[in-house]
Amino acid sequence: MTGILQFMPAEVLPSRDAVLENQGIAPGTVVTKEIDALCRTAIDVLEATAVPVGVMEEISEDDFRGIYDGEGRNEPRTPVADVYMQADHLALFAVTLGKQPEAEIAKRFQSNDFALASMLDAAASAAADRLAGLAEHRYERNLRERGCVTETTGVLRYSPGYCGWDISGQKRLFAFVHPDRIGLILRDSFLMEPLKSVSGLIIAGLRNIHDRPDTYPFCDRCETHGCRKRFRALTK
């Protein structure tokens, strides 16, 4: 699977709970009608301004090894390193919501509409994550159409900057995938522009290869242990 992926804005819209969670409000919390209205407005603005798009390139294990090594700054042991060599299929991807949501956020801050600006930022972050999930599903669907998916297959994404895969890994990832085709660039500081973007590797293989214990040395510094949640979602 190779090329540009198109998505509809409505596909990436996050749930109310996901947006509020990014504002530090736990799911299920009762909030005021003003906060609810802000959340609805933020999602509406996002739907009107996001232009979700992505690029994906399948890659062999050998080619990925060179990309993974990157600038030589990865932790000695990482989940990605432990998993990718057991994979059946690998694909690199990059997705973005485009420039407009950020412009809208900046506009709201400039007009002192801080609460909406912050809520819109939270909504866009949740949407970018959802978009990365859609890219993952798109790849899984493609593999299924090619007869490469069985009942025991698990497809999961991993990103530079997380779980010991140093953020500098993005440099070679970008050189392979060429996200400039969709207006996404990488700065020298490894910052993606537009900001509401996600890049990474999608690994397809036996579901259990993704089941890594959260006992890597860097797991102590992790506040979310989100990897366990993602694996649990995979097994549902």
Binding site: Q23, G24, I25, V31, T32, E34, I35, L38, I105, F109, N112, D113, F114, A115, A117, S118, M119, D121, G161, I167, S168, R187, D188, S189, F190, L191, E193, L195
Partner: protein, 212 residues
């Protein structure tokens, strides 16, 4: 006659139209701008900050209150300048060079202004020299830096070194924050303080100012 408690309550409710109306009324009633600021706007934001720290309200509540406070400040600003009312302190703030994430920095700036500080916001992608030059130019006593990338955190050290090189250590204090930043990192690079969130950053800045 507009009561200062009424202004304070309107700030707490995040009612910007009411704050605008009440501050105009208070000015017309010849209440001093400093009183309106201290006992109306800042008092209201102070309550909001305390409730936020106590987890009684959420971030959007704080930001709606800040918008209301700004509505009042817009009315007071010319009078405060005319009356020569000093702020609690002057702070230069920005997201460091190489980084464009500015939401966290914006929240800190909003809350610092809400607490009565004079904030010079340099935006994002700010070079070390710009922080220091701006602090010198405006006589700021605090430099606040934000970073969301591990790759841009070293720029914070460059700013601290730049402060020292300019002979401003002790006169201009530094505070750092952002998702990958920690108290240990702040100590390691010689920063004077670390703020783990916007409300905490305001507390830390107040401490730095009182130490000065």
């Amino acid at each position: 006659m507009a009561g200062l408690a009424e202004i304070s309550e309107a700030v707490i409710r995040g009612d910007d139209e009411q704050v605008d109306r009440l501050t105009k009324q208070a000015i017309a009633d010849e209440i001093s701008a400093k009183n309106i600021l201290d006992d109306g706007l800042i008092a209201g934001m102070g309550t909001v900050g305390e409730r936020f720290k106590a987890h009684e309200i959420f971030l959007p509540d704080v930001l709606m209150a800040a918008k209301a406070m700004y509505a009042g400040m817009d009315n007071l600003r010319p009078l405060l300048i005319k009356e020569g009312v000093p702020s609690l302190g002057k702070i230069v703030i920005g997201t460091v060079q190489g980084d464009l994430h500015d939401i966290g920095k914006n929240l800190v700036a909003i809350m610092l202004k809400g607490a009565g500080f004079d904030v010079i916001d340099l935006g994002n992608d700010v070079a070390p020299e710009s922080f220091v030059e701006t602090a010198k130019e405006h006589g700021a006593s605090i430099i606040g830096m934000s970073a969301l990338l591990t790759t841009t955190m070293p720029v914070m050290k460059s700013v601290v070194e730049c402060v020292e090189k300019e002979g401003l250590a002790g006169k201009v204090r530094t505070i750092v924050g952002g998702a990958p930043v920690s108290k240990d990192f702040a100590a390691q690079i010689g920063a004077d303080a670390y703020g783990f969130d916007a409300a905490n950053a305001v507390d830390r800045v107040k401490c730095l100012i009182s130490e000065n």
